[in-house]
């Protein structure tokens, strides 16, 4: 009998130990996947925050630029920079033939003449002089310099020629190649050229979409939640509504995209590809999330508080507005932020309403065409150039950073402002 009991006891201890082990290994697995994921993104993406520059001596030859004596500011703006730009690149190798000159030109970014123009506009006294100018390296050389480009491929299989590599290596040796922080990744809009592509347009697009989404979803959801929770009679009809709100939360996001396409664009003729339409579509998705969060936190307000207010002679409306709703706000707000974070990461509905279009301007309002961060990831991931690979990861890092900040904020609101019930 006693032995039997001891066996039972041992069995219980072992079961507890086993269970704890299962739990620990589950957490370990989760952390492992997360680490691999983050490591992968960081290791591919971190180099996107660096940009390679070629330092090229440029002679600001007034004649080549078609400039008169004592040119005005306007003249400088209208001057022809292409020839001096071309010449300064060609001068890198005095013996170059015409084909090679062309290859030399393609070692820097497509807009290299603009960089030269900016230099002169900053300092007009440069006319007639020679100055070392920083020119953005082409995306392929950028990747070569970062060590992401396989140099051992046969020449006809890569986009960098042997000749370009030779000149580039010479420049590296002379210290004429520099790597600096890639500010343009944050300030430039999207571009077909990987070295010039930035997230400014998609970032602003995301911000505008989220703001539109917040302004529509929050008031509607909170009013709906307050009415359902505090005022509506509890009957079959309200049960039916509740079930449908939960259903709405489970609807795949692409369906909302189709709705936006079919109603907002086709029926209401709202401008395509804009954060306005994107935000409205996203608000449909966020609505049930906020309603559910708000109702849950209204439910969590103890009935004794409502009774206390009612017994003091407060009307139903006063009780709700003075006591219940303020007490439910921390939960509602953190639910809202989590809903917005979901919306921020949403891609499918935005693709359907046309926010996948190539936009190379920075939107100034929700009515301008824009992309959004997750869609930008999608666009870049589809691009063939090597230069976009690291940009995809870098963009993911920015998006994740935002999501983490938002979720952290939600946590802080919840912990800091939630009242403790005695």
């Amino acid at each position: 009998m006693n032995k039997n009991k001891e066996q039972l006891l041992n069995k219980r201890y072992k079961a507890e130990k086993r269970f704890r082990l299962y739990g620990q290994s589950a957490i370990f697995m989760a952390l492992l996947f997360l680490t691999i994921f983050i490591f992968k993104i960081f290791s591919t993406g971190y180099s996107a925050f660096q940009k390679t520059w070629l330092i090229v001596p440029v002679t600001f030859d007034a004649e080549l630029m078609m400039l008169e004596q004592n040119p005005s500011k306007e003249d400088l703006k209208d001057a022809d920079y292409y020839d001096i730009a071309l010449k300064s690149m060609a001068d890198l190798d005095p013996n170059a033939n015409e084909d090679q000159e062309n290859e030399l030109k393609r070692m820097v970014s497509y807009f290299f003449e603009r960089e030269i123009k900016r230099e002169l506009l900053n300092d007009p006294s440069l006319i007639g002089k020679t100055k070392d100018v920083y020119l953005t390296a082409s995306d392929d050389l950028d990747q070569v310099f970062k060590g992401n480009y396989p140099r051992d491929l046969p020449e006809d299989q890569r986009r960098v020629t042997d000749y370009q590599l030779k000149i580039f290596d010479q420049l590296v040796e002379l210290g004429k190649v520099e790597s600096k922080f890639n500010l343009s990744f944050f300030t430039y809009p999207d571009s077909r050229e990987a070295e010039l592509a930035g997230i400014a347009s998609s970032f602003m697009g995301s911000i505008f979409s989220i703001l539109v989404c917040l302004m529509i979803a929050f008031p509607v959801a909170v009013l709906a939640a307050i009415y359902l929770e505090e005022f509506a009679p509890k009957n079959r009809f309200t049960d039916f509504i509740e079930v449908n709100i939960n259903n709405l939360a489970a609807v795949p996001s692409i369906v909302f995209g189709l709705l936006g396409l079919g109603i907002l664009l086709a029926v209401f003729q709202l401008p395509r590809s804009t954060p306005l339409v994107g935000g409205i579509t996203l608000s449909l998705m966020t609505l049930p999330t906020i309603i559910i969060a708000c109702r849950a936190s209204l439910k969590a307000v103890p009935p004794s508080i409502r009774e206390a207010a009612l017994a003091m002679g407060a009307s139903k409306m006063q009780t709700t507005m003075h006591h219940t709703v303020p007490l439910s706000m921390p939960g509602t707000l953190s639910g809202t932020i989590i809903g917005l974070a979901q919306a921020l990461g949403e891609t499918a509905p935005l693709i359907l309403i046309g926010m996948v279009a190539f936009v190379n301007t920075i939107p100034g309002s929700p009515l301008d065409p824009a992309a959004s961060l997750p869609v930008q990831i999608y666009i870049w991931a589809e691009s063939a150039e090597r230069g976009f690979v690291e940009k995809v990861s870098a963009c993911i890092m920015v998006l994740l950073g935002f999501l983490i900040i938002m979720n952290l904020f939600a946590q802080i609101i919840r912990h800091k402002f939630e009242k403790k019930w005695s």
Partner: protein, 251 residues
């Protein structure tokens, strides 16, 4: 003087009848205790008096409850005005999660009883003094009311109830969550308050009923079995059930 006169009050929760034909008169400026075993309907009856049962969807009240010659179950009765006249203190202290000051000033604010900050300060002070809490909290009026001890919280709730100068105060087992010392303080307070207010208290403690009340009503299974002066109910009850309950044979 009769303050509240209830005639043939029936209460239903859905199909279930909770109170049967209650006829009970409450004397002005006295303490009336409602006693009886759990689930006998004494709290339900108490909540009829300020129509707190309205909050419960499935609850229906029939019959007349006449206060100041006015039937509060009549359609023309405005519950907000009614609850201004009839305050309530609950079983568990339920101060608002706001400051002590805001707890007291809430009622006067929504009923527009103070014209200035000074007047409001005065209302807060007198209410807290009447509730015998002033000395303990006068230096921390702007700290949260939920930070007080249980007994202090309950006195805060009483102060909150009397801030709007109600004619009647309903107390639903106000001491059941408190220790004996806090209970004694509340009982003293009840004795003091009956000078200005009519008090109806629901209690599980027979001793408390005997100590604080002048009149007692005994409820059992939704019926008012017996009512009368506390002396008579406790010393010389007419009904066998009352006697059994008071002597602790059931309940």
């Amino acid at each position: 003087m009769i303050k509240i006169n209830s005639k043939n009050v029936d209460v239903y929760y859905g199909k279930k009848q909770a109170l049967f034909n209650i006829n009970l008169d409450i004397e002005e400026n006295q303490v009336t205790a409602l006693i009886g075993p759990s689930g006998c309907g004494k709290s339900t009856f108490l909540r009829c008096l300020n129509r707190m049962n309205d909050v419960i969807d499935i609850c229906r009240v029939k019959g007349q409850i006449i206060i100041n010659d006015f039937d509060i179950n009549d359609k023309s009765c405005d519950v907000v005005r009614l609850r201004e006249k009839i305050g309530m203190v609950f079983q568990k202290p339920n101060p608002f999660p706001k400051t002590i000051y805001e707890n007291i000033s809430y009622g006067p604010t929504i009923h527009g009883m103070a014209q200035s900050k000074n007047e409001m300060d005065e209302i807060v002070e007198t209410s807290l003094k009447k509730a015998a809490l002033w000395e303990e909290v006068k230096d921390r009026l702007h700290e949260p009311g939920t930070g007080l001890s249980g007994g202090q919280q309950q006195r805060l709730c009483i102060a909150r109830a009397i801030s709007v100068k109600p004619e009647v105060i309903l107390m639903d087992e106000p001491c059941s969550a408190l220790d004996p010392i806090a209970t004694a303080q509340i009982e003293e307070l009840i004795d003091e308050l009956k000078k200005d207010h009519t008090i109806i208290i629901v209690t599980h403690s027979m001793a408390q009923a005997a100590r604080v009340s002048q009149n007692t009503g005994f409820f059992h299974l939704g019926e008012l079995i017996e009512h009368g002066s506390t002396d008579k109910i406790f010393k010389n009850p007419e009904n066998k059930k009352t006697q059994d309950y008071i002597t602790g044979r059931f309940g």
